[in-house]
């Protein structure tokens, strides 16, 4: 697996798109730090961009890499290699190169700015960790979708739909549910609802760390209590880990059963 990972990783690291992605984050970080009055504000804006963009780019890269390397994958399948190691190797290649672009792209401007001397280092660190989780989760989901769909257009469509669902539609449904059920006490419901969407979970974990959490007011109290204690944040991290591992296992399992 490691060999395949190595080659996929090198291949991606040399791809133009990966550089575009890296440069985008680099530019974003620099501009944000230049424009924002405080680090905390820059991190908040960054969070908004990350929860939108990281899942989208993860999805698109995952699906594109699978389809573009499909024939090559078939070549590999005829070699004396274990199937699962081919797919897992490729998947980790995508996920890790994406995460590295994110971490390096944003890391450089913030390090230059002096994040290590700032109290916001933990918030920034958490943001990068969450971004990495989201990269893994969404490239994993899209890799599975690609594996499931021979038709590229269909696969691409489903992957974008999956992203759209998690990023937007889920919250829309959530909001409609909140409005329709507004006579009932809903804190627990909203806690549970938002925990099961990795994008929402990442956003809330980040919000609670930043100044803006004050706006969550009464409702935020339960969230703060939950995420504030050791158990809660462990659970949150576990759920993110579960979101990361599940696609990997499904990938392993489905790739073993697939004809090429």
């Amino acid at each position: 697996m490691f060999k395949i990972f190595k080659y996929s990783f090198y291949d991606l690291m040399r791809s133009r798109w990966n550089y575009v992605y890296l440069l985008f984050y680099l530019a974003l970080g620099l501009v944000l730090l230049f424009v924002s009055t405080s680090l905390s504000k820059a991190i908040l804006t960054l969070m908004n961009i990350i929860i939108l963009l990281v899942p989208l780019i993860g999805t698109v890269f995952g699906i594109m890499y699978y389809y573009s390397s499909k024939e090559f994958t078939e070549l590999l399948l005829a070699l004396p290699l274990k199937r699962s190691s081919i797919f897992l190797g490729q998947y980790f290649g995508v996920a890790i190169s994406l995460s590295l672009s994110l971490v390096i792209g944003l890391g450089i401007p913030f390090v230059i700015y002096g994040i290590f001397q700032s109290a916001d280092i933990w918030h920034f660190g958490q943001l990068l960790i969450l971004g990495t989780f989201l990269s893994f989760i969404f490239s994993g989901i899209s890799y599975n979708i690609a594996l499931h769909n021979e038709n590229r257009i269909k696969g691409f469509g489903f992957a974008i739909l999956a992203w759209l669902f998690m990023a937007v539609i889920y919250d829309g449904i959530f909001m409609i549910a909140l409005v329709m059920l507004h006579e009932y006490p809903l804190e627990k419901f909203s806690l549970i609802f938002s925990i099961f969407n990795p994008i929402d979970l990442s956003r809330i974990m980040m919000l609670l760390k930043l100044d803006i959490s004050a706006m969550l007011g009464y409702t935020g109290a339960l969230f703060k209590m939950f995420f504030g204690n050791y158990l809660g944040s462990t659970i949150a991290m576990l759920i993110l880990a579960l979101w990361t591992i599940t696609p990997v296992f499904i990938l392993k399992w489905r790739s073993a059963k697939k004809d090429f």
Partner: protein, 236 residues
């Protein structure tokens, strides 16, 4: 020796292989022929483990290939359409495949020279023509000197000069005592090169024998007509 027992394969409702029994034994060039959709590639991929049979058994040297991947160390495979990662150069690709097959010390230069690939060695694969890609594909197939060679449409995109080299190479491998299985649509090529013809029709082995035997059986003077006759006969 390759032994195939009652091999069935369905893709959803579509039955592609309907209980194939086949034994390939002893050195030689075996051509799998058949109309489009008769299951040639599927059969080959079943042997390679890329397609998983619905039922039946495949044995390579008396060992089942099911849930096994190490047997592929003995197989060289030339896939039908070679599409390599566009960012790699030819040289890097060869080094990589050698690395993946754990034979990093093999020397590809004789093959490269023979196929006249030197000028392309540091070119990116994405920029190569179809024919050149096929030559790279051939290099990767013949480099490893495995006892079994599977060639799926090896002639695709090759110019006449390269075709001659291909034939020579197949002859050489045969003389080393290898089993070479191929499919092709170029009948003259098949007639010239193959020792045994396996004709698939509707998921079964419809005919098995040498080209001579086929001509005799169909009473046709040349190979193409003999094959065509097999098809029309079936239609009747």
């Amino acid at each position: 020796m390759i032994e195939i027992k009652r091999l069935y394969k369905n893709f959803g409702k579509l039955e592609v292989l309907k209980g194939i029994d086949l034994v390939i034994e002893g050195k030689g060039v075996y051509a799998i022929l058949g109309p489009n959709g008769s299951g040639k590639t599927t059969l080959m991929k079943c042997i390679l483990g890329m397609v998983l049979p619905t039922s039946g058994e495949i044995l390579l040297r008396d060992e089942s290939i099911k849930k096994n991947w190490k047997y592929r160390q003995d197989i060289d495979y030339l896939p039908q359409i070679a599409n390599f990662p566009g960012n790699l150069t030819v040289k890097e690709l060869i080094r990589m495949i050698k690395d993946l097959r754990r034979k990093p010390d093999l020397d590809e230069t004789p093959l490269i020279n023979r196929l006249k690939l030197e000028p392309y060695l540091s070119k990116k694969l994405g920029n190569l023509s179809g024919g050149t890609k096929q030559k790279v594909n051939l290099t990767l197939t013949f480099l490893f000197d495995s006892p079994y060679i599977f060639l799926d449409e090896p002639t695709t995109g090759l110019d006449p000069a390269a075709l001659i080299i291909l034939k020579e190479m197949i002859e050489e491998e045969k003389s080393k005592g290898k089993i070479i299985v191929l499919t092709s649509h170029i009948m003259s090529f098949v007639e010239e090169i193959s020792d045994d013809i396996i004709f698939l029709l509707e998921g079964n082995v419809y005919f098995r024998g040498t080209a001579e035997f086929l001509k005799e059986k169909t009473q046709k003077p040349d190979f193409i007509h003999a094959i065509a006759n097999l098809l029309t006969e079936q239609n009747v």
